[in-house]
């Protein structure tokens, strides 16, 4: 389901702390890669003629998978392209990303999926998958050709940014999707509650006089879609959750055996709506930043596995679109290059989340949801590895970002934990 470069490189990563909790590994080891595949894990391995990467003092983990990226291609290549977006992803430690279909035109036609996959083979720095729309034009009315889109290589379906408002349409989509074996991912927003909303409907928005986007606007749709998943027996993935009520619904649904999964984004996991007091449009996201209690619920959900994936919701916007007032600016921030460091700095270092859990939620968690092979550090597995310098720090600077857009909420901030090297599908994609 992924398209993009595959390598057959020969590398020995020497003397790093190797962590893959799912494989039961946490030790100082060498990892030898032959022809792009992990061939041997052990101490003091022969290097043969291989390139040697000195990993002493560093940490080698399964590379990350981002299930929620806006590549703006086709249509807004001034904001991001397959090349710049995947370069940014590689720099963030990702070995695979999944692109959203709300492009111009919308990815709702098998020909578009095939064309994008062909372009990815030559333009991408790492493998990527393309979502297709649930409904034609993401209009929420007629089903897109889910079967043909899956046959063309669509990795899953979503109307991200445009929730499927009609329950009847959503139910049909879930029922029919049984033939594709792909996952439907939903942007949960009840738009009659969120119209005119630019920020969490709480004390900060009240004080600033910014229109409110209430938690209920999300959680009502979360509850509906969990009930629809239960009713149809099909799986649903809930994207970029932001509210405590949504996490509670998800936890109850999972406990009841419904096939429902959830993701959370770094900005919601790190920030609260306090951050919007500056009215800086780089803190405007959809769904919006919420209260400290909501943030705590997201972190707890991520920790206990209720939320099984971190998703950046990387949303590039042109400079001129964000150089305006908070209310006039579009929703969304870039996140691929800062996700790991932000979460390491805001969650792992303060002791809110174990490092192993963060790695798992950024790697195996999202892969499993979409039926992808999880990146793993085991003999025989394709080399999808990220080398981290956990004692290093760096400052986020617009002129150093590889993404074509610089609308980051972290500009000027110093973050701890640095990605030194990314190997994606047996090929060094970033160093």
């Amino acid at each position: 389901m992924l398209a993009g470069p595959v390598g057959r490189e020969n590398i020995v990563v020497r003397g790093g702390r190797v962590i893959d909790a799912l494989e039961g590994v946490d030790a100082i080891l060498d990892v030898r890669i032959d022809n792009g595949v992990i061939a041997q894990i052990g101490e003091l391995l022969d290097t043969n003629e291989h390139r040697v990467v000195d990993a002493a003092g560093r940490t080698l983990v399964p590379a990350f998978v981002d299930p929620h990226v806006h590549l703006r291609t086709p249509g807004r290549e001034d904001e991001e392209t397959i090349a710049t977006g995947t370069a940014a992803a590689a720099a963030g430690g990702y070995c695979a990303i999944l692109a959203m279909p709300n492009t111009e035109p919308v990815v709702d036609d098998p020909e578009i999926v095939r064309a994008l996959r062909t372009r990815a083979e030559t333009e991408a720095h790492i493998p990527l998958g393309f979502f297709a729309a649930i409904t034609k034009g993401q209009a929420g009315e007629e089903l897109a050709e889910l079967g043909s889109l899956a046959d063309a290589g669509a990795v899953g379906f979503t109307d991200d940014g445009h929730p499927v408002a009609a329950a009847g349409v959503m139910r049909r989509a879930l029922q029919y999707n049984a033939v594709t074996g792909r996952t439907i991912a939903v942007h949960c927003e009840e738009q009659t509650l969120t119209r005119g909303g630019h920020a969490h409907a709480g004390a900060v928005a009240s004080e600033l006089g910014i229109g409110g986007w209430p938690s209920l606007g999300e959680s009502l749709m979360v509850a509906r879609d969990i009930d629809l998943a239960a009713d149809t027996g099909q799986s649903v993935h809930l994207m970029h959750l932001s509210a405590r009520e949504s996490v509670d619904h998800l936890r109850r649904g999972r406990e009841a055996g419904v096939c429902v999964t959830g993701e959370a984004s770094p900005h919601h996991l790190c920030l609260t709506d306090d951050a919007i007091r500056t009215l800086d449009p780089n803190f405007k996201m959809n769904p919006p930043l919420r209260s400290a209690d909501d943030r705590a619920a997201l972190v707890e959900g991520l920790r206990d596995g209720t939320i099984s994936a971190v998703a950046t919701d990387h949303a590039p916007h042109a400079l001129e679109e964000k150089e305006t007032t908070f209310e006039a600016a579009p929703f969304g921030v870039v996140g691929l290059e800062t996700a790991f460091s932000a979460l390491y700095t805001y969650l792992v270092e303060p002791g809110l989340l174990p490092l192993e859990t963060l790695i798992e939620r950024m790697s195996a968690g999202p892969a499993v949801i979409f039926g992808l092979d999880r990146p793993r550090i085991a003999v025989g597995a394709p080399a999808n590895l990220t080398l981290l310098d956990l004692s290093g720090s760096w400052r986020v600077r617009a002129d150093r970002l590889r993404s074509r857009s610089h609308n980051s909420w972290l500009l000027g901030e110093r973050l701890n934990g640095r990605v030194c090297l990314t190997i994606a599908a047996g090929r060094v994609a970033f160093e």
């Binding site: 005119g196 006089g209 910014i210 150089e323 908070f326």
Partner: protein, 324 residues
């Protein structure tokens, strides 16, 4: 006359940094005292036959208005003229804004004329901050979306001081569409800054929580010193959003009628009012009404704000008044 209670040390504005007036949150209690004292000085000058002062001669004040306005735009223009500044009024209708020019570019364009002050009104929160980030001029926020309207809050404080002789310990009932009101947000902060307090009264759909105590019962205005009536801002309501069933029902429950005003209570309104909707004309035209005092205060307070941002403080005011 009221007690100004200003010590000289309070009257010196901060030096060095370029200052703006973007939000009531930018003001300290000392700033408020200094501005009100300056406004008081100007009110004396406005009682003379020759009302114009030479203080800001050669300075340029640009009024950049993206929303319709009568009293704010006219009072800023008149305030600048009474201080002998040049004024340039730019309205979004008929300007390059109609052609899609961004706020940033309009600011850069107007800044090429080296204005000393840009006064900006805009329908979006934070617009004055965007202007301030793109100009070397001082910026005065004359209303940004539902966010802030700091000169309105200052003129309201001036009116309260002139009426009650004090600013602290006053209890103000703000009645009506608080949700869509930058006036209410600025006033609640300003009252807190000077040691008074507010209660917000109105329909549950139009009164947000978290700003000040809230009541949905009009009877709760009974113990207020001041009833501050807000306009029902129909133009801010999105199509199809029904905040109240009808204006008639609003008036019946929350309209300020003579029966609802107790003896000794004073009534304020930032304008423009919908007579007969939020405020009964018999109240608006009664001696309890401070509405025209507010408009007069608007002129001298805006003179004080322009003066304060561009000069060294009230010592010069005395000199300026003397010259005139």
């Amino acid at each position: 006359m009221s007690d100004l209670r200003v010590v000289p040390g309070d009257l010196v504005p901060p030096r060095g940094e370029r200052r703006h007036l973007l939000s009531v949150a930018d003001l300290t209690r000392d700033d408020v005292e200094r501005l009100l004292a300056t406004a008081r000085s100007f009110s004396v000058s406005q009682e003379r036959e020759t009302k114009k002062l030479p203080t800001l001669r050669g300075r340029l004040v640009i009024n950049l208005f993206y929303e319709s306005s009568t009293r704010t735009s006219s009072s800023f223009e008149l305030a600048a003229k009474r201080l002998s500044a040049d004024t340039l009024n730019v309205k979004s209708a008929g300007s390059s804004v109609d052609k899609g020019e961004s706020l940033k570019d309009t600011t850069l364009t107007l800044s090429s004329y080296d204005p000393d002050v840009i006064v900006v009104r805009h329908p979006e929160a934070g617009a004055a901050n965007v202007v301030a980030a793109n100009t070397r001029a001082r910026v005065v926020n004359a209303g940004d979306g539902k966010h802030q309207h700091p000169t309105q809050a200052l003129l309201d404080l001036y009116t309260l001081r002139e009426t009650f002789g004090r600013l602290d310990g006053l209890h103000v009932a703000i009645v009506g569409d608080v949700a869509h009101s930058r006036v209410a947000r600025s006033l609640v902060q300003a009252l807190e800054l000077v040691g008074s307090d507010a209660i917000l009264v109105g329909p549950p759909t139009l009164v947000p929580t978290g700003l000040a105590p809230v009541s949905h019962d009009i009877a709760s205005i009974a113990d207020a010193d001041v009833i501050y009536v807000l306009r029902m801002q129909k133009e801010r309501m999105l199509p199809g959003a029904s905040f109240v069933p009808s204006l008639g029902e609003y008036t019946a429950r929350w309209g300020i009628t003579p029966e609802r005003v107790a003896a000794g209570q004073r009534v304020m309104h930032p304008g423009p009012m919908n007579r007969g909707v939020e405020l009964d004309p018999r109240v608006a035209d009664s001696p309890a009404s401070l509405i025209t005092d507010q408009v007069r205060a608007g002129l001298v307070v805006r003179m004080a704000v322009l003066y304060d941002l561009l000069t060294a403080g009230p010592v010069a005011v005395e000199a300026a008044v003397g010259v005139a």
